[in-house]
Amino acid sequence: MSGSGIERQSLSTPRYEYGGDDHVFVELSESMSFTANFKAQAITKEVRARDIPGIIEVAPSNASYLLHFDPEVVHPDTLIDRLRDIEAGIDLTAYTWEARVLDVPVLYDDPWTRETLMQFRERHQDPEATDLEYSARINGFSGPEEFIEAHAGAPHMVTMVGFVPGLPWTFQMVPRDQQIEVPKYVQPRTETPSRAVGFGGAFTAIYSVPGAGGYQLFGRTPVEVLDVDQQLSAFADSMVLPNPGDIINFRRVDREEYDRIRDAVEANDYEYNIGHIDFEPEEFFEHPSEYTDRITEVLD
């Protein structure tokens, strides 16, 4: 598979939309791609850097971005003109950033998400199978084992944070033909354990808090992505760990290691394994497999 690169997408003209009198929503693409996501990140970074008066919130998302502004300070059309300007000046081939690489241990097919998913079988496409069995089958894998190997086999880029505080959407760093795709539940669950690792559309999410959810449940991580009281050392600067542009390496662990890490996290004594890499999209697009191997090597 090392020969296959990631195709750059040619995006259509962005769609600028008013969100009432105080938001502008910009859709860069209707479909998900690294090109669209990196463009959303590059534009929102530039919007922040320009410090445009009246802007209150800047939120990049998977293939779009959202701004909240004070219309008494800036007219939405003035703002959209400036956004078009920024868009025209973005050179994605020159866009690089220092990415954090986060080790996220996962106990796949854990007892907690399994109990939850069994409770909500009647809301699922395939009540006779587990979420892992179903997702493996529709993606052409022989079974959960092979499927888990693929999911944990290459790192995932954080392409959006939200829904609730700290929840990352991640997009696996493989060519399109190797991307996993699964539908969401037919009807959302009313319960999901916190730290569940779920999948919907083309995204893996880590549920930062317990609550409703529609993603297929694959496992659970012992580590937190949200620490409101900022007790864990990795949360010294923010109550939320993942940021767009970070890279997550889902690492399969057994129950013994899960319990050991969980004990340390609960004692506020867990040191996250975090590496850094100067991320170069062009190199990643050219040789994704070799490049993601290098990414995981920066973790101890």
Binding site: S31, P76, G162, S208
Partner: protein, 324 residues
Amino acid sequence: MLRIVEPGLSTTVQDTGRYGHYHIGMPPSGAVDQYAHRVANFLVGNEADAATLELTYTGPEVVFEEEGLVAVCGADMDPSLDGEPVPTWTAVRVAAGQTLSFEFATEGARAYLAVDGGIDTEPVMGSRATYTLIGVGGHEGRELEAGDELPTGATEADGLEGNSVDAAHVPDYGAETSIRVVMGLCDYRLTEDGKETLLDTEWTVSNEADRVGYRLDADVDIQGLFVEREQPFGAGTDLTNVVDLGYPVGSIQMAGQPIVLMRDAVTGGGYATVGTVISPDRSTLAQGRSHETVTFEPVSVEEALTAREDWTARLDRLREELLG
């Protein structure tokens, strides 16, 4: 200091909101009816961003440990002081040891209790607004409970007692509300007939209508409003799904039914949003009660901006009159 004797149905500390953290998934929170919240503050000599108590349907029973000035604006919950009725939309003097209590709201859903000096809980990330989902802000990040004690700020609100708001500035919370909407966002996902249906339908406020979202009911097949298509990569299989994106506060999300997102809403997700309630009308909607009727009135962005200017100018005038 205020002491909570009975908490009411859902009482939280709120202000004008917590901003700058939407990109990590943190909604603004704050009073869902910003008009009533702000007027209540002005009446007792506070600025707009002082914290008030947001009361839902049934207010609390509150004892005042010190003398002070209070005002109740918003839904009519028949407040009384030691059993004597007190007027709403009016600055009322309370003596130390007196008890303020409320009945079930007869009109509107939420009232705001302002005290001079404001509710002085510790701000979190620049705001006192309560966001219960992750337990930040307000009093211990949660709805108030019996026995809670809340500090109030220092003031010298002399000469304001008896101040009230002209009847013209007291909203009428009717059972049928028209809410102005700027269509857009992902409304290209709706057919022309679908848009018409959304705008022509009388929607009923469901029992799930809270600080997170107002779910609206009607006998409408939501899937049937959407344009058929082959779903783009990453969007998921359902016609109402889009590649997960950011939701504006006030946007209408089509998740099996229209849900208007309020100030504690999720910040993003994979359902198509098809329009946004204009900022002044988010306050109006927040007074809508379960089983009442809501219709959407489409407006242009220029009309929305004018409505916002009028709303701001009106509050500025009230502030000027009341605070000087």
